[in-house]
């Protein structure tokens, strides 16, 4: 399959705490991510709150400028293109946000909101044609026909998210980035939205980058999963492999935090729920960033940053002791 997007050593740092008298410290929100995304693939990005998932998603879409590294889109490095040169490319990469209501302009009708990308990228359409496209898309995402003339605040969270999805899908993008699209919704609604995304993917065949801290949701939707911790990739492999044979202690901890479907599986020491506090991203631990919470950390873990190595075919892990994880 063809490569749609690749990230090469992508880093994003925010200067924080600077004032008139003190230099700002860099907060490394995303710290060296390498990744390839194929056309039609769904990739999950998981990790605890604050580990840089949203920042990564926004840096890919050039909504936040990367500090270093490359974002290669269809063979072209877009990490340094101008705002104007970026604009036409946006038609093929769209985003769905976490807070459904906040992502819709309260002053616009649903019709205007969903038509906005068409206005920018499909100038050849006239009003009626635009309206038809919008009406079709609204129907496709499961909204009532009269939604087009109503305002976002008249809809529930789940419906607002459908509006957000309609806006993102109206241009039939090749890449749909979803930044925790269901975490603000009721559990019963979450499944409906995930199903909708699945249906749309089947119908339009776009790639999906699905950011979430909910492993169960990721499992439903994604082909591969990237596990992030303090901005660094910990593990990257197929969904199946990740849930069956996680090779990183952090991934183990994350999986253990999800209620087990199988009561016979005994949680081992490695399988215990993550304990300890997330270290401040301003002063991450030396060596392996996970070592302060890792149940099997050793002295050597503090010395060098573990590389993200491909230890099995298609299975990348950044841990010097992955073999003992596999056995334990």
């Amino acid at each position: 399959m063809s490569i749609l997007l690749s990230l090469r050593g992508l880093k994003v740092a925010f200067p924080v705490g600077g004032s008139l008298f003190r230099a700002a410290k860099p907060l490394k929100a995303v710290d060296g991510v390498d990744l390839e995304l194929s056309a039609g693939e769904a990739l999950g990005i998981v990790g605890e709150s604050g580990c840089g998932k949203s920042t990564l998603a926004r840096a890919i879409l050039q909504l936040i400028p990367p500090t270093s590294g490359q974002v290669v889109w269809l063979g072209r490095d877009i990490s340094a293109v101008s705002v104007n040169a970026m604009r036409p490319l946006r038609k093929d990469m769209q985003i769905v946000f976490q807070d459904p209501l906040a992502s819709l302009d309260p002053r616009m009708t649903v019709g205007e909101i969903v038509a906005e990308p068409l206005r920018v990228h499909a100038g050849e359409l006239d009003r009626t044609q635009r309206r038809e496209r919008v009406q079709d898309m609204l129907q496709r995402v499961g909204l009532p026909a009269d939604a087009i003339n109503r305002y976002p605040h008249e809809f529930s969270g789940g419906q607002c998210q459908r509006i957000g999805i309609a806006r993102a899908m109206i241009l039939r993008p090749q890449l749909l980035v979803c930044d925790e699209p269901v975490s603000a919704l009721d559990v019963s609604i979450q499944a409906q939205i995930v199903n909708l995304l699945q249906d749309l993917k089947r119908e339009f065949g776009m790639s999906i980058l699905f950011v979430s801290h909910n492993l169960a949701v990721v499992r439903r939707l994604c082909d591969r999963v990237l596990v992030l911790y303090l901005g660094k990739p910990m593990e990257l492999t197929s969904t199946e492999e990740l849930y069956e044979r996680p090779l990183h202690p952090y991934t183990r901890g994350l999986i253990a935090a999800v209620p087990l479907p199988d009561p016979d599986v005994q949680p081992s020491r490695l399988g215990s729920v993550l304990s300890g506090e997330l270290p401040s991203p301003l002063s991450p631990p030396s060596g392996c960033v996970f070592r302060t919470r890792c149940p099997i950390a050793e002295a050597q873990c503090a010395r060098a940053v573990p590389e993200l190595d491909e230890v099995r075919k298609g299975h990348h892990v950044a841990c010097v002791k992955w073999q003992s994880v596999e056995q334990g």
Binding site: L63, D105, R167
Partner: protein
């Protein structure tokens, strides 16, 4: 499928405003009073500053052509009050427009640029807030030519923009962080598109509401200054100076107080009703 007409934000706001009876009545009254104030004196045989030696301090309905009576100097109270309304309205509008322009530009710039520029700009506002307002105005009024009320109110507008700047800055700042702005950026909408299609419609509501409520404040403030003898000077009149004169004759010629006071109260009430109506109409969220 039934085709319903596309309703824009302004169309909807207008529809909601029209349904608000108090606000609609208020705007009709404001328009009528304004028309009367600006064109009424021309149809009266009496100029606002002419002294009628035959009818001094006559009460309303005295069978002569001064149907609202005259003041102590025999000037027609009807024409004089209309003249006062005219001056008061002009002053209210002038000061409001000045404070609106400065406040919106200052606030939007600070909010949009953010960071240190924002910090510095808002400290200026804080410092100006801390200065005793009335004190500044009194100093200004003595600096300028006493008769020139317009210069004075340009100055008052130039001091009165602080709240507007704060409102606009706060709105712009919180809008800038909203995900729908990011969504527009992600769709490829340009800077102008974002400003005109997203920022302005979201900021303009509070601006219009606040401006509508500023007009009566400024009218009232002018009245207060005139009451202190710092506002318009004889033979010109504003509602405030007329009320001041009327209050001095309260025991002998109460109509001199009641007529201008009636106009003032009516105008202020109407502006406030209109402001409230606009607030309801422009904010579809809390209905």
């Amino acid at each position: 499928m039934t085709e319903t007409p596309v309703r824009g934000f302004w169309g909807d706001a207008w529809r909601r405003l029209r349904q608000n009876r108090a606000a609609m009545t208020a705007s009709v009254v404001i328009v009528l009073i304004s028309l009367l104030a600006f064109f009424g004196p021309a149809f009266s045989p009496h100029p606002y500053d002419a002294i009628d030696w035959d009818y001094m301090a006559v009460p309303p309905g005295g069978g002569n052509d001064h149907w609202l009576g005259t003041d102590r100097l025999g000037r027609d109270l009807y024409v004089r009050t209309l003249h006062g309304v005219q001056i008061s309205l002009q002053i209210g509008l002038l000061a409001t427009v000045v404070s609106l322009i400065i406040g919106v530009l200052w606030g939007a710039t600070a909010g949009y640029l953010g960071g240190r520029i924002d910090g510095a700009m808002m400290r200026v506002v804080d410092i100006m807030y801390a200065l005793p307002y009335i004190f500044i105005v009194i100093i200004l009024s003595t600096l300028f030519d006493r008769g020139n009320i317009y210069v004075l109110f340009l100055a008052i507008g130039a001091v009165g923009w602080l709240t507007m700047a704060r409102i606009v800055r706060g709105q712009t700042l919180s809008l800038k962080r909203k995900e729908f702005i990011e969504a527009a950026l992600a769709s490829g909408v340009g800077t102008w598109g974002i400003l005109l299609r997203h920022i302005v419609p979201n900021v303009i509501g509070p601006v219009i509401i606040y401006a509508t409520l500023t007009i009566p404040q400024m009218i009232l403030f002018e009245s207060f200054l005139s009451f202190l003898g710092l506002g318009v000077q004889e033979p010109q009149a504003s509602l405030g100076s007329l009320i001041n004169e009327g209050a001095q004759e309260m025991e002998s010629a109460v109509w001199m107080l009641i007529v201008p006071a009636g106009f003032l109260v009516t105008l202020l009430t109407c502006f406030n009703f209109l402001g409230d109506g606009l607030r309801d109409a422009l904010d579809p969220r809390d209905r």
